[in-house]
Symmetry: C2
């Protein structure tokens, strides 16, 4: 375990993308802000939002180098919902070049932990292939926070990501996940792009059994965020409108 060069630091982000910015000190440890302020080399999904993040860091912990002097490169974008591609070694090696030369590189997500429900995992995989040290810094993860807030089974759970957009395929997938949940007492966790939140809620309420417990965790860590767990039958009696706030759906049959 002697890393051959610098490290890949996994830098958590706030969960407020597209919403009013929360105070970073409310969601990220001071030590993480300090680590972020020291980094010169970054890999991100989007350089522009990363610069905005770093301006917010700078307001708390002055950046060691001016923002303009930082090296921020973007991950190749996989099509959403596609299975992870096998890494093209050159692409990843180039992104990791500063670490291979002995400097730390930061990987940051648009929201939450890099590589969790997020395209950064392939870079982490490549870092391991190069025997680089990988250091995950603690911060918010929407699926984990939602699971804690749900009160559903936290000893056995599965995150299934996005469900199919086609209605029939989505219904079949919900039925399969509910059957597994019932058989194994496994909490099922799914997400949706915000503008389809209400359609997904309707599909869940239409398909799940009345006694299945459903949690809707909406806008976690945001002002006005809320979460509620109740039986599907209760939700059906008074279904809420979620709107375009980042939401995690969890159920246990």
């Amino acid at each position: 375990m002697t890393p051959s060069g610098g490290r890949l630091l996994l830098v958590p982000n706030a969960l407020d993308l597209g919403h009013d910015a929360v105070d970073l000190a409310a969601v990220l440890p001071q030590g993480v802000l300090e680590a972020a302020a020291r980094l010169q080399h970054w890999v991100a999904e989007d350089a522009k939002t990363t610069r905005a993040f770093l301006k917010r860091v700078d307001a708390r912990v002055p950046l060691r180098r001016p923002l303009q002097a930082l090296d921020i490169r973007e991950l190749p974008r996989p099509p959403k919902g596609a299975p992870p591609r096998p890494p093209a070694p050159d692409v990843w090696r180039d992104l990791l070049a500063p670490a291979l030369a002995g400097a730390d590189v930061g990987l940051i997500s648009e929201a939450g932990l890099p590589g969790v429900a997020d395209p950064g995992a392939a870079l982490v995989e490549a870092a391991h292939a190069h025997r680089l040290a990988v250091l995950p810094l603690p911060g918010p993860s929407a699926p984990a926070l939602a699971l804690a807030a749900s009160g559903l089974n936290g000893q056995s759970f599965a995150f299934a990501g996005y469900l199919p957009q086609d209605a029939a395929a989505r219904t079949a997938r919900i039925a399969a996940l509910e059957a597994r949940s019932r058989r194994e007492r496994q909490t099922q966790i799914v997400i949706e792009t915000p503008y389809r939140n209400d359609a997904l809620l309707q599909a869940l309420l239409a398909q799940l059994a009345p006694a299945t417990r459903l949690c809707v965790a909406c806008g976690l860590t945001l002002p006005g965020g809320w979460c509620r767990t109740a039986a599907v039958a209760e939700w059906r009696a008074a279904p809420p409108t979620i709107g375009r706030v980042p939401t995690v759906f969890l159920f246990l049959a």
Copy 2:
């Protein structure tokens, strides 16, 4: 969503139980330390370790009330590995009484997020049944950090908790999880009590296919912590000794 009283705050803990204490500012947001310092009512797995945690909070953010004046009560302890019991309504209502009377109650885990791989979930479930607002505060979660650090599939993953202790049952369970991982490209996440870490690693290396990718994430957020992802065949060539450090095991076939 008008809560009938106070809130249940889910307070994350550091991941250093049984090890040298890390600086809380390295792992918990300042806002979480401030929220913890304000709380008078606590529910915990262990009152003694919670008092130790609150002393560490106090060193960063002075507690609003002296430690001796805080109301710290313990969760009923379920036997490890047993399925969650249906809540006994009186027990949970008593623990939630301050919230039902309008004051905030904090639920804290021994490590990480309450209710994730942890017995707190039943109290959260009871809070929802009482229509209390549940507010999860952001902090480290070992399974989520390990998943980020693994570089394995973060779009589909399952946490299976502890594996059976009986060798034959454990082997069968590993085989079943690997088959599912292969079929669904689902990362499988398991944990073990620290003194059995090395036995679990041996069982994984004996059972998993040579090409299956295995991540060992050991002592996350601790000094000397490390994580490595490699094919099982590579691990077999030079298996490490883990020792009694909190460790998360992940694999993707």
